[in-house]
Symmetry: D2
Subunit: 459 residues, 4 copies
């Protein structure tokens, strides 16, 4: 029985290709660029019969429509109207069979109203549930956020989710393998484990949705304040149509430095190199989003209309950078400067540098008093622990919050390890702040060195 | 938490690379060519701290010694003397910690006396066992063969294995993920599932070691007669030293047809193309072992002293063919004819062809009476079902059993689908049989077409 | 100075990516699937400024329009109206500069009326011509065929070509590197060298266009009878628009055996495995075209309207098979049976086999008289040498010439080594011939064994 | 006829694989890691018959011995005793044939006393020379340095070289393709063209060895002062034995930050990231050598006894970094920190940063007077043009020349574009200089911006 989790880095997304017997396969929650699923099918002699959707994803664009067109597969989902384009609708408790494998559809609302889970019973695994595709209902160590459909009803939805998990999933048994739509790094959960493999039994012993009471759980979820990137709204629209194909011709034109400089005036420049390289030298006015963070943080900087110009570390990375933006619906990449920072410099075009610092040096400066510390992590991370007297603004909101940041002091920005603060210092720099430093190693290093922290118990 | 099963096709072998926290990893039961493990470690920024062995494998050569030398890892195994080269010995019930992950060693004899399992407790998975490396004690849907250490004691060892599973593994709980050393296609179990993912709970409901009584289980195992390839003895010796490195210079010299013809006189020719291509045209006297079967069936044809000359379908496949033999300790590949069947023909060198047939045609011939059907599957497959009046000899024993095969009749060889019968007809051909056919599709097609079969209930 | 010949196997086609200084590059005669050129540009930090066309290619579909759209490059060609979509037109003798590299356009008609060559003068190579893109005017060891525009004027066009080469190319000097649009295996020349590297000086000493007189050359070309695959007409139309993009969604759906069987009724099945494998076992009614021959011989079997169903040896080869057809404008691949001959057999679906034979065996049969030898090479090859009493029909014309082939005798088909005769025997087989053999090794082996041949001096 | 130049970046080295007919190939001047040659041979169905050496290379370690052992090839070279291990010795003017290809050996001393060239006459290229392997006698646009055997005799050897080129190579004709052992970036020539493709005719019109008189040429060569990296001496020894195999087990152990820090105390740390990333943050005391420069500049920092610890940008680059050192005989890489600068920071381990600046900013500083400019290019580059009042020391000699560099001023280091100055600032930093800046864009940007330069006519 072929089975493969296909992870999409940067989105913390899991799709699954599952062989179902008789040469048929299903793909669960495919992302927009589907070539990898097609190749897995080909390599394992599988014909894709269904694209199964657990819910209308908000954080990435679906590839269901593409897969359906390319392979003749049918799109299968629940009956809720938030599933738009669906070929086969299944209701709560309904069974269906693909090849020799039986599935039971389970309505598991809470993360969103339409959320479905699918319990899987392969022919040779007996009467018990072998595994369950849970979408964003149940993650390893966490549950889906419940604020998306209506922030006012975060707690109420959490109660709904609690019931879904306890009434629909828990009865499947400890032995069932957990197959969620997201892993660590997703914008859809605040505290998903770095471990991908789990079972319902392991979750029953460790996951807050099981270890807390319903009321405690509702309170916890109500207290979560996860950022909601602006591109989510666009995804909600396009996913009603099961996603759009990746543009036939991703415009990966290599631009020479002068042409890049000229055209980029009509858009934004995103430099995907590491925060160190960006600090060392970069194009004035560019944003810094490290390559793997592009799907998550690109959506805070650009929308589907923004002309984007990319700086990449190496040519081989350009297609990945373009794909990462396409996965969240941003298709207007109008130029790439590959290897080109070098050509840029040799052309005598202007460069800028930024400061970097370490936790120990920053602590020394802090004692000397000449410093404003800016923490750009999200609310939950801030609540868990933070440097005393630091100023907190989530990096996605920084551009809006600039009036609160003083221009006349040395600013040391940090996040957990240094990537998001790389974006933060690039935002400060392009807004006229000159005395800015990225604290590499972040609060992780600060903590390891035993430097002072305020720790607030997270509920 | 990084976790990756690394499958070795042809051996049905699973090794595992497990990230244990703090940047440390363990590799469980590594095969001889270790580059893939090293790359996984590098790609995930992991330092390999331990090579963990579940038992002295018989069916492939260990890479533990190589990994230890290359990375500084320590070899960890049980205290039984059948583990030879070990840096860290752990006894039954003993705990050890790597990074932030706790392991409990469990003596689980039965397959072999020294067999160990290792229960794993990652930091964030609570007090319950997350998964268990079971070696050849417990497979998905099956258990390790119990005839290897002493065929006389097959039943007795099966009882021992039954107790190991029930007393040591079952108590770990339904939620524990099963991580065995072999999957389908292994020579170490007769009926391992094609499905790789399972949990103890799923096994408890479906695996014969759980669904049968102790006595029934002993009887079943006693009735199993799995072939024991001759190279196993060599593996037992070299694995006492935790395996040898792959030769620095795998001798993959490309030979021109005439040189190949000349030198091959001092050894054997193995043609790794598909049975169809072999049937279409091949070098007289060559054996046919399809590429993925080389680790399993190469060990019936050659030992560590045999000069081997390979015919491969495409140049890119030569390294894999050489690796497959190296994995079972056969290093004397002294020439490769790549793309070269073509060059061979163009040189006017002699070729031979063989007949192929389908199940329906063979059935027609059979009715007409002019036919001897030769079934070369193993004993268990034969017992389960076979064509009436067929002659049965396992392909590994065919060369020895030739006196029993008539030379004057048309012989149709078959196995389950056509690969092993490809080897069988090549053996017949090189021994002077001329009227031989490979029944492509095998008994699988025969059965699907509803042709007559004797079915013997397997216990 | 970056310079790379990009060969397209099967078409014997050369495109070129040439760095021209200042980060600019040109691509000469790009094929339809342009990803490889884009990657070379990216990897070498080059911006593609021009797609240069030497003539309206007939044997493959251009990628100029795609490249122009993807990169902003301009299409540069001559002024003749047979160049349709052109952004920059250059006349005979006109100069243009890209980056720091100077080009001189040269009208070199003969192969076709519009044919242009482009002499290249890089900055650091002095005043002499460094190299010249000759399109189909001058190949290594050969010249472009002159029958395409009007078979009646083959000799006349040859005279024109002779003048182009002597008056326009020869004056560039012995030192100039020859950069033609085709190498060995092309349908555009009959006798192109297997060697890709040459200079005008080497050609001057060896190429018939130089070693023969004008009259001799005209006579030679008039005597050439090269096959003209039917898809050429389609290429002439689409290349007026500089080619079409590869379909966004190459339909590479994996079909299960029964679905494949059913749907394939509405189209043709092309089996891309080796002739040996095809001979060993194949789907009844399928054509056999070895993978690398698909661009050349697929165009004799299908046109842009034909639904094509592919059998491939391994999944990884499916995209290449689909690309090879797309390169000649055949986009309706509606199903792929990957790995699937095996699944086909296991499903009990019918298979057929074919005979193979060697030159020595065929010669023996021939002496015994019970044989009709069918030579399916092209006219030039036949003229050069052939087996006495063989029947000659070019494989592309075989289906039309079947009435001339007796059904009641044993037929041994051959070509030079066995690929085209593989196609031939598949054609015979699907037309009801049962006693057919592919003579593997072909006339090459026959010749090496010293068997009798009629040798006719080729002019 | 298969022909492939195999470039080794960083060494500016060309090896060649040439198919010679009858399935035989030669490899000319192979580097130490030979896998790429073996693969080319396999992929093109070629048996390597000879490793041909043009001279005892000084700048990289030979792979001839390895290839000979792996493939059975024979080592062919000249008769001079500076060729040590040779199987087949050929004298000046001697012919030999491989397959259907004729070679003529030509003694072409000057670069070194033993230097040989080999003129090639493939079967189908007529009586003229098709191409010539010139080793370090004649490059594209340059000739081999003549100071290596005895710096006192630089001019005298130049005369010898002049005669070799004029008397032995020129007569081969303008049409002959030039196949030298090095291209741009080599330490064996000062001014080799970036263009790889040339012919003797093109050289005759442009190369100083042709455009100058013998006396002028001798004077020019006498005036060249190319750096001679210390590892050259080691190469001279090992290449007498035709090179050693790459160690079976390149020790690429992944070290965790603390282990790396500890062990690295016994050796040197080389950070192979870009100069920007190094400037942004690096491990105190580390050298910065960009990845592609490792073969050239690693040899100035380490010898075959030095334990080396590598920092690489991405895991996939580690094997290349290790190979680059192995190619110049440095095998003691004892640890790699992959991805690990991040882990390093998160562990709170100390980091350092460096300044970067642009040409325009540096010019501004310079006007303000508070600056010492350090030019670390080689002598020839310095002579050609330099910034007024800059201090010049070749980067390879910087560590020895530190006493001449003031510690109390701001130092801006530059080279041509910023790589070698990256190494220079890292050297300064680890020697206690704190106020150091790397001028990114180098003198190239300075020149493009029209800033003042002293230009000294190079002879």
């Amino acid at each position: 029985m072929f089975f493969q989790r296909v992870k999409t880095q940067g989105l913390g997304h899991n799709a699954y290709v599952l062989g179902c017997g008789n040469g048929l396969a299903v793909v669960v929650d495919p992302r927009r660029d589907v070539a990898e699923y097609l190749q897995l099918a080909r390599d394992n002699d599988l014909s894709i019969a269904y694209c199964i959707e657990t819910h209308r994803q908000e954080d990435f664009e679906f590839g269901s429509a593409s897969l359906a067109e390319l392979t003749g597969a049918k799109i299968l989902a629940g009956k809720h109207p938030l599933f738009g384009r669906v070929d086969v609708q299944v209701g709560d408790g309904e069974e269906f069979t693909v090849g020799t494998t039986r599935f039971v559809a389970l309505a598991t609302p809470g993360h969103t109203p339409e959320s479905m889970s699918y319990a899987v019973y392969p022919e040779d695994a007996g009467d018990q549930c072998w595994g369950v595709f849970t979408g964003d209902a149940l993650f390893v160590g966490d549950t889906g956020r419940t604020d998306l459909s209506d922030p006012e009803k975060t707690a109420e939805n959490a109660g709904l989710l609690y019931d879904s998990v306890h009434q629909k999933l828990a009865p499947l048994g400890d032995q069932a393998i957990l197959l969620p739509a997201h892993g660590a790094g997703s914008a859809c959960g605040g505290n998903i484990s770095e471990r991908d493999e789990s079972t319902l039994g392991i979750e029953r012993a460790t996951n807050p949705v099981f270890t807390k009471s319903r009321a405690e759980f509702m309170a916890q979820k109500a207290g979560e304040h996860l950022p909601r990137p602006p591109y989510f709204s666009h995804m909600e629209v396009v996913n009603l149509e099961a996603g759009r194909p990746v543009p036939a011709s991703p415009d990966d034109r290599v631009l020479l430095p002068k042409a890049f400089q000229e055209r980029a005036r009509g858009g934004i420049v995103i430099d995907t190199r590491s925060p160190d390289a960006f600090a060392g030298a970069h194009i004035p006015g560019s944003y810094n989003v490290w390559l793997k963070g592009l799907s998550t943080f690109g959506g805070w900087l650009a929308d589907e209309q923004t002309p984007v110009f990319l700086v990449v570390e190496q040519p081989a990375k350009a297609p990945l950078a373009i794909a990462q933006l396409a996965r969240i619906g941003i298709d207007r990449v109008e130029g790439v400067l590959v290897n080109g920072v070098e050509a840029w410099r040799e052309a005598g075009l202007p460069i800028e540098a930024l400061g970097t610092t370490s936790a120990s040096e920053a602590a020394r400066w802090n004692e000397e008093g000449d410093l404003s510390i800016l923490d750009v992590r999200d609310d939950m991370e801030w609540k868990e622990k933070h440097i005393p007297d630091a100023h907190h603004t989530f990096v996605g909101h920084l551009e809006a919050d600039l009036p609160a940041i003083p221009k006349d002091r040395r600013i040391v920005a940090h996040c957990s390890v240094g990537h998001r603060s790389g974006l933060a210092v690039s935002i400060l720099r392009r807004n006229g702040y000159t005395n800015v430093f990225n604290m590499l190693g972040g609060i992780t290093a600060w903590d390891k060195l035993g430097l002072p922290l305020n720790r607030n118990q997270v509920e």
